[in-house]
Homo-oligomer: 514 residues x 2
């Protein structure tokens, strides 16, 4: 006897159960009529399509290739059906974080989607747009203007009642704005920007404008006090560099997009003004706040500070911290962590990746040299970023490779010891970023993709595809050099190791590595 | 028919219910045998005795006299049966704060008891000694050395799970040490210091020694980072001036008392060393930490700062805060309060009262001038201290009197609107302090009581008694001057308006007011 069992589900927050039952029944009947072979074919096509546009080829270490694909497959699972929802920190694989999603979605998962499946990226950003009214309410709840996106949420309501290492992370606003601008630049989807994005930018910029203040004591600079940055081993600090730089970008992009809309789409601009009550004085204030944004810097160390008081804290005594005391948050009271120089996850270092142009090469190097030894990587959001920046400024790839091995294996090897609660979606996205932005050296600058490929010792070949504007670029890195070819589109300008090149369809370009 | 109903209770945490029932029955039988008249007489004697040693006479405003006595009566109620317990913030009058007690007991209620009923003060301090082992455990829980007394408690266990405006207020340790030293100085009870106090001082000093650190960036000064001071509208700050000064005093007193014990009572000293594992290097370190204690100060404003970052915060917009938005904590998110210069309760100002000798007269004046306008007095621990300092440094008594009217009436007039949750014991203690330390101008310096009496416009006479060492001093202030008389003891040195005087039994001294 052979039994074939069909199972169907439909979900929709607004429809009555009866309607969903009806739809599920219809789907079931169709599936039964078509047979299991058709369903299997559909699934195969879906996955073939996924691998065709998303695979990253790593030759020379079969286990590594498998681990990379395990991570990519997690991204496929987590993002395949995101219509109207976000991507939870654990995807659909476990109960960790109660199904909530965080800024990980925008900063760690979205880049992969933007460059391999932009329609999904758009779905996720549209979902943020849909919760804008709740974000406006939330801003009122915390006595601020504009909108404040929830630190953790399922349906747009703030699900965190804890501010120190939670809702005080206002940077969530700037992270969403950053991802939005990244998406639109990479897709030329100006329609989405006009219809949804501009309103998000306006309301998030407003939050920053109200949260910070021009400080007489800081020579008129715009300061943002009492926030928590990405590093959750510091809390309620003044002028977190990551937050201030991301807010600066948020303010600038908001002003830029409003002006662009004014110049190019009077109707959309009029609608935006109507929806938001925007006036021109606000734009001026945003630009002024961005221009005068205060970033703490120590002249003696020539170092960007994580926050105003960071250097005033005692250095953590790593030498006398036994290995079993990590992650520190499970063994030390938060107050002890807060009053030490000890970092849970890349913070200034993350800024040097996301906003690389705000830093000189020497700045980035000093930042990594100073903060990396203080970083415990107790968060799974950390090592992919440390890998990328170690690959950018390291003399060799040893440190980057070490970080990469941790990133790619966190769930397969259960290195964090908590995979029973679900896998780490952000680290899966981080795996892709470590390969593409780290070893591939990909950065976006002025609407152009820059590459600076480096081949790790464990790999004989690293190959991936990235979608950018109307093109799909295939990048193939071996010891002989890097090959660039267009799989879609006619012509694409790229920069390889500082050399601007035009890649044309059917004309593969090859250049040596550094 | 006349029905007389007798009711008895006994309480004891260790005895079985049966034993307590037996005792209650015995008490009831005795009471019934003696009759209600005897019980009433006992109660009358108890209260006569209380008023005899504790009354503060305020002539010229009958309602004010009544309000003062209402507060003193609350102190009688709250402290009469404290054997083995603390004094909860609401006494026994309501469920506010779940019956917990705080630092109020030591800083706001104990001064009254020390100077009117030292046996009760000793009971309370002995109770703190009994919880020293739990305080040691608590210090381990938060990864510190020595002992950390609970921020709120009933039985010695920390009952607060919240650190920002709660357990981060490490100053509780120094408050207890301060009260202990005050008690011993005022009573000459060196036996209690030897048997209980020294151990408390050692363990609290150890906490400070471990909590702070000598900072290279601050020129080797001893800094204490990441704490919350008395003002709960700031949280997790570096170098809260109140905390650092109180910690300095705690460290110094600990070193002094250990040396005194070593010199005067070898046995007690040996026992202390055995109980605490104390070594001489610790004493040196405490003295060094105290000598090098960092106190934030702004040279330009010539102002002691509430904490390192206080001036970097935006000034609260009092002008545009409607009256119905007070107390602010019920209308603004803590993060909003934290990033503004706005104060819930006297903080640096409290330090200028408790540790007056650390400040010049001009310092105190500038401190009151700067911080008082920023203080909302949203805590009932605030205005009594503002009253005292306004009386000390004000050109006239207008501000002090205004504060006093708020303090004395908080429960009678239900000014805070929450008397249904119980009365404010600390404010009752604060009433006594406002009268004695404020208008009476009483301070303790080098084992001598100093007075600088000023008569508020509403009063024709202010008279009170204070017990100090083996003496009981009666102070009687009218427009004609201040009269000092000894009711117990043979001779007492006091200072009136800077003039050192010797008061002898049966020789009343009179001096003009300023």
């Amino acid at each position: 006897v052979r039994i074939v069992k069909y199972l169907a589900y439909h979900h929709d927050g607004d429809e009555p159960t009866k309607e969903l039952m009806f739809r599920a029944k219809q789907t079931l009947e169709r599936a039964a009529a078509e047979g299991v072979r058709v369903a299997r074919e559909e699934q195969r096509r879906f996955l073939e399509d996924f691998w065709e546009r998303s695979d990253v080829i790593v030759e020379g270490a079969p286990l590594l290739q498998q681990a990379v694909r395990f991570n990519l497959f997690q991204l496929a699972q987590a993002s395949a059906r995101v219509e109207g929802y976000g991507i939870p920190a654990k995807g659909l694989t476990g109960r960790g974080y109660e199904g909530h999603y965080f800024w990980d979605a925008e900063i760690y998962t979205l880049p992969f989607l933007i460059h391999t499946a932009p329609a999904l990226a758009k779905n996720l950003l549209r979902h943020r747009y849909r919760m804008l009214d709740k974000a406006r309410q939330r801003a009122r709840e915390v006595n601020e203007r504009g909108a404040l996106f929830p630190w953790r949420t399922i349906n747009g309501d703030e699900a965190s009642a804890y501010y120190a290492a939670g809702t005080a992370q206002y940077h969530i606003n700037a992270d969403i704005a950053y991802a939005l601008v990244h998406y639109v630049r990479a897709t030329n989807d100006s329609e989405f920007m006009a219809q949804c994005g501009a309103e998000i930018l306006v309301e998030t910029a407003r939050l920053w404008a109200g949260l910070g203040v021009f400080s007489e004591r800081k020579g008129g600079r715009f300061v943002i006090n009492g926030v928590t940055g990405p590093d959750e081993y510091s809390a309620l600090v003044d002028n977190n560099t990551f937050t201030n730089l991301m807010a600066q970008e948020n303010l600038r992009q908001a002003a830029r997009v409003v002006k662009w809309l004014q110049d190019t789409d009077a109707e959309a601009h009029a609608q935006l003004v109507e929806h938001t009550g925007l006036d021109d004085a606000e734009l001026e204030m945003w630009e002024k706040a961005a221009d005068l944004m205060y970033i703490p810097y120590d002249e003696e160390l020539r170092l960007f500070l994580q926050d105003d008081g960071f250097l005033d804290q005692e250095r953590w005594d790593f030498e006398n911290t036994p290995p079993e005391n990590y992650p520190l948050l499970l063994h030390y009271h938060p107050l002890v962590l807060y009053r030490h120089q000890v970092i849970k996850q890349a913070d200034v270092v993350l800024a040097t990746f996301l906003l690389g142009d705000a830093f000189s090469y020497e700045d980035k190097r000093r930042i990594l040299d100073y903060y990396d030894p203080l970083t415990t990587s107790d968060s799974s959001l950390s090592e992919c970023i440390q890998c990328i920046m170690a690959a950018e400024v390291g003399d060799d790839l040893r440190a980057a490779e070490e970080y990469f091995m941790d990133v790619v294996g966190i769930d397969l090897a259960d290195a964090a010891g908590n995979v029973r609660d679900g896998i780490h979606v952000a680290s899966a996205g981080g795996t892709w970023m470590a390969l593409v932005n780290g070893f591939g050296g990909m950065r976006e600058r002025d609407g152009v993709l820059w590459f600076r490929p480096r081949l790790p010792s464990r790999m004989k070949r690293l190959a991936f595809k990235v979608r950018y504007k109307e093109c799909m670029l295939a990048v193939d890195i071996t010891e002989r050099g890097a090959e660039y070819a267009l799989e879609e589109g006619d012509r694409m300008t790229i920069v390889h190791n500082g050399e601007t090149m035009s890649v044309r369809r059917a004309h593969m370009l090859q250049r040596p590595l550094q």
